[in-house]
């Protein structure tokens, strides 16, 4: 493991989760393979979002909005509480751009669709809708990207570059289902479309990010299905729902693996 100095850890104010299993944490299964009943992909469909502005928006953009809305509901907060330049938005995904890129390559999207092929447009729709105008970065990759985004959120909070940070993740697979079917093992946990958003604020304790080359056991994917970058965010949602006071910390921190890199986000009690 490469060592890393700790930084003040953030606290989780709220979490929003939408997944192919249903709305919120209560819908998550105990065993993804059993719950999938032989399906290799558990889809989310298209959320019902009203408004002319969203006429052209892609499904993944709308799920980004739905995740932020679910987070506000969990935090019993109004939109005004997150609006403005003191809110950072960190976006994570491994594959969210697949659908729009494929549509543009195959000519089904039209010229104006091109802008939607940029991964940055997915969080941008949320930023526009909720007037999020602070620091913003997109981390591309699987579960470690989400852990890296939480780390960067903590860094921004510690530097007082923002007062709160949202870590937003979206993964959709349906439009490329045939391509994934060729690439994945039949015994692998199902791909589960999901969108989640964490609301982080300054907290107590320290946070350490470590990474090493190797393999992870993949317990999260066995339970929830393969949510790629959204997986760790769903884990945090589960812990919050289970009543842990420090969902980032309890019980042992968060682990994610991707492309041979295993990343651990470790929380320790103590002075922030």
């Amino acid at each position: 493991m490469s060592a890393a100095a700790g930084i003040p850890a953030p606290a989780v104010r709220a979490v929003g989760l939408c997944s192919g299993w249903g709305t919120g944490v209560a819908a998550l299964p105990a065993d993804a393979c059993a719950a999938a009943g032989g399906r290799s992909l558990v889809g989310l469909g298209r959320p019902a979002v009203q408004g002319e502005r969203f006429r052209r928006a892609t499904r993944e953009c709308l799920w980004a909005l739905a995740a932020v809305e679910a987070m506000l509901e969990d935090g019993r907060a109004e939109r005004a509480a997150i609006a403005g330049e003191r809110t950072a938005l960190l976006f994570v995904s491994a594959a969210v751009y697949g659908a729009s890129n494929r549509a543009f390559i195959e000519g089904t999207g039209g010229g104006t669709h091109f802008a939607y092929t940029a991964p940055a447009v997915v969080p941008a729709e949320a930023a526009i809708e909720y007037r999020l105008r602070g620091p913003s970065v997109l981390f591309i990759g699987g579960a470690p990207a989400a852990l890296r985004a939480i780390w960067y959120a903590a860094t921004l909070l510690a530097a007082r570059a923002c007062d709160r940070a949202l870590v937003l993740g979206v993964e959709t697979f349906e439009e490329c289902a045939d391509l994934y079917a060729r690439a994945r093992r039949r015994t692998a946990p199902p791909l589960v479309e999901a969108a989640a958003c964490l609301w982080l604020e300054p907290g107590d304790g320290r946070l350490v990010l470590q990474s090493a080359r190797g393999r992870s056991r993949g317990d999260g994917a066995r339970r929830l299905g393969e949510m790629l970058a959204v997986g760790p965010l769903a884990e945090v949602a589960l812990r919050r729902h289970a009543g842990y006071s420090d969902p980032l910390a309890d019980p042992l921190g968060l682990t994610g693996a991707w492309r041979g890199e295993v990343t651990n986000l470790i929380f320790t009690k103590g002075a922030g």
Partner: protein, 393 residues
């Protein structure tokens, strides 16, 4: 709280339409050699504009045995080859688990997706279409076993990657970081910008009254970052500050007042511990679209205040096109080379002043000046903004 240790830019490597090493790149910037040509690598006959900054042949590496048949990867590897020619990155220099890689891109491996969906080559090519595939390939080629990240803030990605890499060093997550950006010209992106009518049939004329749009280019640019104490005696310079922000305004156009860009610049200056009065030179995004150049000018006037007319500002995009994910890294390297060589490259094709763009854009020929502190600004789709504050050695 004590200030964090400074991050040094130890070395750099570039693959561009105007040169495939730092010397050629710098010389072309100064002399005004053009990297713009008719695109030959893929069909463009059906597009309004078929020109761009295309690299006709990768000349630096002769054998590609260990490198996937992916153009984005090969541009990155070519830039990395120049980097490691200056600082070998073997176990004698750095423990592989302490070497991190952070790359930024607007397009990732999308051309691999285009090729696979067209039935060209094996289906496994699809795996290369993931945005982080070229970065992963670079990590393997370098033998790095530390953290490997891909960030994507559209055309500001090359700035974000440097900023994240510097933060990893400050927090002790790595001892050396290879950071930078890349993107290639492919049919996907040419079709897209053509459809948006963003491409010009004229020359690219940043800040000129007649400016009518951009041309795209392809490039890879990498820097080797280290904490100052590990940097050796002759770094290129220092990365003092970074910020990436979102406009929250429009999915493809910048905020009409450039508020997000201004926030990025102010945050980057604050991280650097300097003020606008310390800025000697600005490398602008300068795409030559009517909106971008006007907004950027307004932001710089607000930021620099009464000093604005006397601070040189340039754009190098007329020389090789807008290289998207590579652009901000190339421009950061240019800032450091300007300080080293005492010359600021000109903004090419700027001939007719625009009353709305009334700063000193270094038109015509290179300017003899040795900027110590530079600000580099970038913008991209999704309301992405990036700012870097650099200090020459």
């Amino acid at each position: 709280m004590s200030r964090p240790e400074r991050v040094a830019v130890v070395a750099a490597g570039v693959t561009t339409p105007i040169g495939q090493d730092l010397d050629a790149f710098w010389s072309s910037l100064l002399t005004g050699a053009s990297g713009i040509s008719s695109i030959e690598r893929f069909p463009v006959a059906d597009l309004r504009v078929g020109r761009g900054g295309e690299i006709k042949k990768l000349t630096r590496i002769k054998r590609w045995d260990r490198v996937p048949d992916c153009r984005a990867t090969r541009l990155l590897v070519s830039a990395a080859d120049e980097l490691i020619a200056q600082v070998p990155l073997g176990p004698a220099t750095v423990e592989p688990s302490r070497l991190a890689v952070v790359v930024g891109t607007a397009l990732g491996g999308v051309e691999e997706g285009e090729r696979a969906l067209a039935g060209e080559g094996p289906r496994r090519r699809l795996r290369g279409a993931l945005y982080d595939s070229p970065g992963d390939n670079l990590t393997r080629w370098l033998g790095a076993r530390g953290p490997a990240l891909t960030v994507s803030t559209a055309c500001a990605s090359g700035a974000t990657a440097l900023g994240i890499g510097a933060e990893m060093l400050r927090q002790g997550q790595a001892d050396l970081v290879v950071a930078g950006g890349y993107d290639i010209l492919c049919r996907f992106v040419m079709r897209g910008f053509d459809a948006l009518r963003s491409l010009t049939r004229d020359e690219v004329r940043p800040f000129d009254k007649r400016r009518s749009g951009l041309l795209l280019g392809e490039a890879a640019a990498l820097v080797l970052l280290a904490r100052e104490t590990d940097a050796g005696r002759a770094p290129l310079g220092y990365l003092l500050g970074h910020a990436s922000t979102g406009d929250g305004s429009h999915i493809s156009a910048p905020d009409p007042e450039g508020r997000g860009l201004e926030r990025a610049a102010r945050l980057a200056l604050a991280e650097a511990g300097v003020g606008p009065d310390d800025v000697d030179f600005v490398s602008a995004h300068g795409t030559a679209t009517p909106l971008n150049d006007r907004i950027e000018t307004a932001v710089l006037k607000r930021l620099l205040g009464p000093r604005a007319p006397s601070v040189p500002v340039n754009s190098i995009k007329a020389t090789m096109g807008h290289t998207m994910g590579a652009a901000a890294t190339l421009e950061a390297i240019m800032c450091l080379l300007a300080g080293r060589h005492g010359q600021i490259p000109p903004t090419r094709h700027l001939e007719v002043p625009d009353p709305e763009c009334d700063l000193d854009y270094v038109p015509g020929t290179a300017r003899a000046a040795r900027p110590r502190l530079s600000l580099s600004t970038s913008l991209g789709f999704g309301g992405c903004n990036g700012a870097l504050v650099l200090e020459s050695a």
